[in-house]
Amino acid sequence: MNASSPAEISRQSLPNVLKDRYFATRIDTVVTLTFGAVSLWLLWSFFEWAVLHAYFDPANRDACVQSEGACWAVVTARWRIVLFGLYPFEEQWRSALACLAIVVTTVLSCLPWFWSALRLALLWVVGFAAFYILMRGGMLGLELVSERDWGGLALTLFIFAAVVLLGMPLSIVFALLRRSELPWISRTMGFLIDTIRSLPLLTIMFAFAVVLPFATPDWMNGQQLYRVIVGYAIFFACYQAEIIRGGIQSLPAGQEEAAKALGLRYWYRVGYIVLPQAFRNALPPTINQVVITFKETSLVTIIGFFDILASGRAASGTGEWSFATIEVYVFVALIFFVFVFSLSRYGAYLERRLRVGTR
């Protein structure tokens, strides 16, 4: 077929494209019309609920209760609880800045310029330090706010960033040990990974938060929040280690042989030949794992932390707003969507960028 002939070009016009794609046969027409009608109806209903019949001003609370539209007034009135949880009201600007610190650090570390071990390490030390000083205070004239009172978006972001940052290097170590040539090392690592993967995340969080302090000496225990993060990071590392191992095993054996033949020692082979290619191969499942990790931070509620989902529940938990749970959940879902969708898009960008080398 000669796509560049004049007849073909004229066929690219909008009505023709529509006809080709949606109304080519009688069945196509039926399907298009049915789905079109259903989609339009759904969109319209949502629009009606979310915009046309909605109330935004908290002063209209009573009208809200009667109305069949959304009551965004609850968000206008209670958004600070959703975002900051139990954090002291007067100090919430600090929590907002701390969120910003984590987001900026994350965005910066997505830029190729920062992709060296030294720069990334420096960046995250500064990022976490900024977060910690802002959130916890107790220095620089900031009032002390203990980890127990952290909550909302800041807590979710902090747990997520800390878990991925601790878990990622750990997963590389696990994957390399798992592939050790010494059978007792690889078997032990394999057993550990399989064991931890067989346990529910809830159990692990609970064990680290509540059970661990009975078994370990006091100086090791630290704050409950950090214990939960360590437990979650180990859990993340076990899954991610298997993803990386898959990436390593998809490399042709010749890659390592060529590196050996050139005289490159183990760490050079791992750092320059094996891992860069393994990460490339393992990128889609890695993004998947990171996205899941972000969403599962919500499980910290069971230990009594107020992550963003729990704070959302608290926001509509008062008698005054208890009728508006759905609106708060939609608001929280929107926040999750913004973060997770950005992660996915960044993953897609990385895939495009890294393909350059492997065409």
Binding site: P252, G254, Q255, E257, A258, A259, K260, A261, L262, G263, L264, R265, Y268, Y272, I273, P276, Q277, R280, L354, V356, G357, T358, R359
Partner: protein, 246 residues
Amino acid sequence: MSDPAIRIAGMHKYYGKFHALQDIDLTVARGEKIVICGPSGSGKSTLIRCINRLEEHHSGTIEVMGTCLDDNVDHIDEIRREAGMVFQNFNLFPHMSVLDNCTLAPILVRKTARAEAENVAMRYLERVKIPEQAHKFPGELSGGQQQRVAIARALCMNPEIMLFDEPTSALDPEMISEVLEVMVGLAKEGMTMVCVTHEMGFARQVADRVIFMSEGRIVEEAPPEEFFTNPQNERTRTFIGQVMGH
């Protein structure tokens, strides 16, 4: 200077119970070019891969440039620095440009400064006639070009010996000659070469000795003229008949 480039004595290699190499004795003088041929599964690739420890031998001795190949990691590293290797499937690093492929080992292993390593790399890329491809990625090159880059990459380490493991077997016919041309040039400059190959024309042209292997043993070794015109062993005669296509 008295040590030969490679000295192998009484070497055996097993894969489980399979006796892959049996009592191999082989000495390669400096500057000598050896071609190893034989039917598939005869152990020729295994032999060449034992020389730089891509495969481990189980008994007997291997010495390369006077260094004994044993479990001492320093010895293995020393030998790998001195013996460059070219593979059947090129094995270029696909995530690095051609130039980075060539400079990686000199920078990391020989601790050469980057600018110096790049100069050397460009010189060798010119020698294999593809300097203009230096900033492309391996996946953008043809098979013949990739194999020439692989040769340049090995040469950048300035090795004393070059090992070729069926360097033209994965190439389309029209690309074989461009690779052989580079290898012939290298031979003329006096490089010590051990080549596993079925290119009998190449063997005739450059080899000092042709070695024929069968079932894990060296069955026959002779200068090419004698090897091709007057093979002593029955199996050698059969093999020559097959590869010559008569």
